[in-house]
């Protein structure tokens, strides 16, 4: 796979507790050398990132209740309103995992609907179901709920987990092309990315895009 073509499947970003403004500036400067699809930063840096990516066509991704999903729906809606205000292009809400793990899918569905409504036409919604904490049964159930709620895109995992190739196969088999799949979690090499794309992932999300590009032509 060619570097430029692979970069056109990659979503990346810089997020974390001790990330400084200078870190964000430097990371974005470097990222602009490749035609990445989208870039995520934490909320205090969204406005800065918007400005730095101006005119590049790179989409700006805003986190919502990231990564633990422990924030209330009201706080999520507040974060979505802020994402719209600063001109973000897409949001990555973590779902309400306490509700999922309690089998309370009606709450999960209700929250997804409210977030979709809040995002309206301003933001693409790509939800994070954190596959690494779910059973296969829960993964499928959650994705059915996501589709029912009006979302057609998932990012499989958030920070600190590993994307399993089997999960991509599972989703493709169950949902065909109804679901856009962003494979995410521990993707570090060209070979890993190539395998996940081959199995049907639409996008690769990685915090280390340069190591993922390293072995591409």
């Amino acid at each position: 796979m060619k570097k430029q073509a692979l970069a056109r499947t990659i979503k990346t970003g810089i997020q974390g507790t001790d990330v400084t403004e200078n870190d964000v500036r430097k990371a974005i400067e470097r990222a602009k050398q490749y035609p990445f699809i989208a870039y995520a930063v934490d909320t205090p840096y969204l406005e800065l990132a918007k400005e730095l990516f101006e005119g590049t066509g790179v989409l700006l991704t805003a986190p919502v209740s990231y990564p633990l999903g422990g924030m209330t729906i009201e706080t999520r809606l507040d974060q979505i309103a802020f994402a719209i205000k600063v001109g973000a292009d897409e949001i990555n809400p973590s779902l309400n995992f306490n509700a999922i793990k309690s089998g309370n899918f009606s709450t999960v569905l209700d929250e997804i609907k409210r977030m979709v409504e809040a995002a309206d036409d301003n933001l693409d919604v790509i939800v994070i179901p954190q596959f690494y904490i779910l059973t296969n049964e829960e993964k499928l159930k959650v994705c059915h709920v996501i589709l029912e709620g009006g979302v057609t895109a998932v990012k499989t995992n958030g920070h600190g987990s590993l994307c399993r190739p089997e999960d991509i196969t599972l989703l493709r088999r169950e949902f065909g092309n109804d679901l856009s799949i962003e494979a995410s979690g521990g993707i570090r090499t060209t070979a890993q990315a190539a395998e996940l794309l081959e199995l049907g992932a639409n996008f690769i999300h990685t915090s280390t895009p340069y190591s993922v590009l390293e072995d591409a032509e």
Binding site: L68, G70, T72, E74, D78
Partner: protein, 234 residues
């Protein structure tokens, strides 16, 4: 209070019984609250999404609902944290544990950090506020500065860790924080406190509150710890 003078009841009143796992279910939250009532812990620390359930279960008890704000990174706007704080209190939170903006702090933007802490304190009103410094990411000099900022902002406690960082509380950090803030401010040690011995070491170092998910084991282990202590003293 010397740790050796502690009885189980007094130790329990220093514990914030904590359940912040991403995959905790309602039954885990229920168990947490019932244990907190049984042992008379100071509070339960939970994600805001679980506040309504915990507030209902703890209604008749002394145990407070303690909301984790800006978790786990603290990388949210000031306005966002204010919103989350108000929302948590409206839903029943009686204490607020928020993560400071470590990125702004690391960039030396101390006026931002003091503004943030002041704003959260103001939003919380009479509700106790604890500023989490995430000490594992700070140098000793930075720990001192962060404590001074928290003191200046008027928050009620400085707290070591979220429990999601590389490392939790250390005895040295708690000593340093206590030395910096003096006697009038609370110091909460959290992250990696698993045993009665860990808990007593933190209290000896100057902690007035302990954040842990091992509160039950810590209290149950106290009797044997006291016995060991007395034996050692002969």
């Amino acid at each position: 209070m010397e740790a050796s003078e502690l009885n189980a009841k007094a130790l329990a009143r220093m514990i914030d019984h904590t359940e912040l796992h991403i995959d905790a279910s309602y039954s885990d939250i229920r168990k947490l609250c019932l244990e907190a009532i049984k042992y008379e812990f100071a509070s339960v620390v939970i994600h805001p999404v679980n506040i309504p359930l915990a507030a209902k279960l703890l209604k008749e008890s002394m145990v407070k609902v303690d909301a984790a704000i800006g978790f786990p990174t603290g990388a949210y706007t000031i306005e966002g944290k204010i919103f989350e704080t108000r929302d948590a209190i409206k839903k029943g939170a009686k204490e607020i544990d928020f993560v400071m903006n470590v990125g702004a702090f690391k960039a030396g933007n101390y006026s931002y950090v003091v503004d943030e802490m002041r704003a959260i304190k103001a939003a919380a009103g009479d509700v106790i506020t604890k500023a989490i410094l995430e000490t594992c990411l700070l140098t000793d000099e930075e720990k001192v500065t962060a404590c001074q900022i928290a003191e200046e902002a008027g928050v009620d406690f400085v707290k070591t860790s979220t429990g999601f960082g590389e490392k939790g509380a250390t005895v040295e950090d708690v000593k340093l924080m206590r030395r910096t803030v003096g006697e009038d401010m609370g110091v909460k040690a959290s992250g990696g406190i698993r045993t009665t011995q860990d808990a007593l070491a933190m209290i000896d170092a100057g902690a007035t509150r302990l954040g842990t998910s091992a509160g039950v084991a810590i209290i149950e282990g106290l009797a044997s710890e006291v016995e060991r202590h007395l034996k050692e003293k002969g």
